[in-house]
């Protein structure tokens, strides 16, 4: 979440047009802060520099592919939910994405924008609910500590 309380989404795709479209869609429909990266290395740099709630990555990209990127992202920022998009789903990829990159959802292209927004919106709502519950718990614990003093 960013300082304004908006969810932060990182989108990684080597096609600039797709990044532009996804940025517009996610900003307008989910009111999220969207960072984009044209390859996995740039995506990892963003993950190292700021908190991210959700990562949406294409699979087929030059250099580090989406599977390698999301596996590294799982180590670097395990709290960020990982979702993969691909036009080239095969069995090995799907199994590795589940077992190694520990993704939460798998989209196969072409994607219906409404469905994308439904799924991502549900994920972000769940994250916000978890965060609010954790914060409320933290506040309660703090109050209990103060009373004991």
């Amino acid at each position: 979440m960013d300082p304004q309380g908006r969810s932060v989404i990182l989108v990684v795709d080597d096609e600039p047009d797709i990044l532009t479209v996804l940025r517009g869609l996610l900003e307008s429909d989910l009111k999220a802060t969207v960072h984009t990266a044209p390859h996995g290395t740039a995506g990892l740099e963003i993950l190292r520099s700021q908190p991210v709630d959700l990562i949406l990555s294409d699979y087929k990209m030059p250099g580090m592919d989406g599977l390698q990127f999301l596996s590294r992202a799982n180590e670097l920022a395990p709290q960020a939910v990982r979702i993969m998009i691909t036009a080239y789903a095969d069995l090995d990829l799907a199994i590795s994405a589940i077992n190694e990159a520990r993704i939460l959802h798998f989209f196969t292209k072409p994607i219906e924008p409404d469905h994308l927004i439904d799924v991502l919106g549900a994920v972000l709502r769940a994250q916000q609910a978890t965060r609010q519950r954790d914060e409320a718990l933290q506040r309660s614990l703090e109050m209990m500590r103060r009373r004991r003093k």
Binding site: A89, L91, A94, I98, N99, R102, F106, Q127
Partner: protein
């Protein structure tokens, strides 16, 4: 044994079910609840308490298949990690297992016992906070039901 946690294992093939019972029960020291079908597993699931820590299900079974069963388990016990095992691994099945049943692992048979033990330990070792995050995702995504 109950302290180590319970595992619900579902497979219609008696030999495989027995092998898993030996691996999980005798080798790993877990309490194993065995079921021969999705319907039988649903009954066990309804009676299982908080000590249930993992569900492993075969895919192809008569009656309710493993995907349907795990999708139902995701709704009734979202905090319990789920694993689908199958001799009929296909891309679409793996995608649906993730998107509909939110499986934590998808394994093709024949199973490698060493790898299986490693994965089971990892899944059963997940902390409470991680489990709660998954429950929130399962509940929220439960209302979004398409597979693409």
């Amino acid at each position: 044994m109950a302290d180590a946690g319970q595992v619900l294992v579902v497979d219609d093939e008696p030999d495989i079910l027995e092998s898993l019972q030996i691996l999980l029960g005798e080798v790993m020291g877990l309490e194993v609840i065995a079921a021969r079908s999705g319907n039988q597993a649903m009954q066990h699931l309804a009676q299982a308490g908080p000590q249930l820590r993992l569900i492993i299900s075969d895919y192809r079974m008569p009656g309710m298949d493993g995907l349907e069963f795990l999708a139902a388990a995701a709704k009734s016990r979202p905090e319990v990690p789920r694993m689908l095992i199958t001799a009929y691994a296909e891309t679409q099945l793996a995608v649906e297992a993730l998107n509909r049943a939110r499986v934590a692992q998808f394994m093709a048979k024949p199973l490698d016992p060493t790898r299986l033990k490693e994965v089971i330990r990892q899944l059963m070792g997940e902390n409470k906070a991680e489990q709660q995050r998954k429950v929130a995702f399962d509940r929220s995504l439960g209302s979004v039901r398409r597979d693409g």
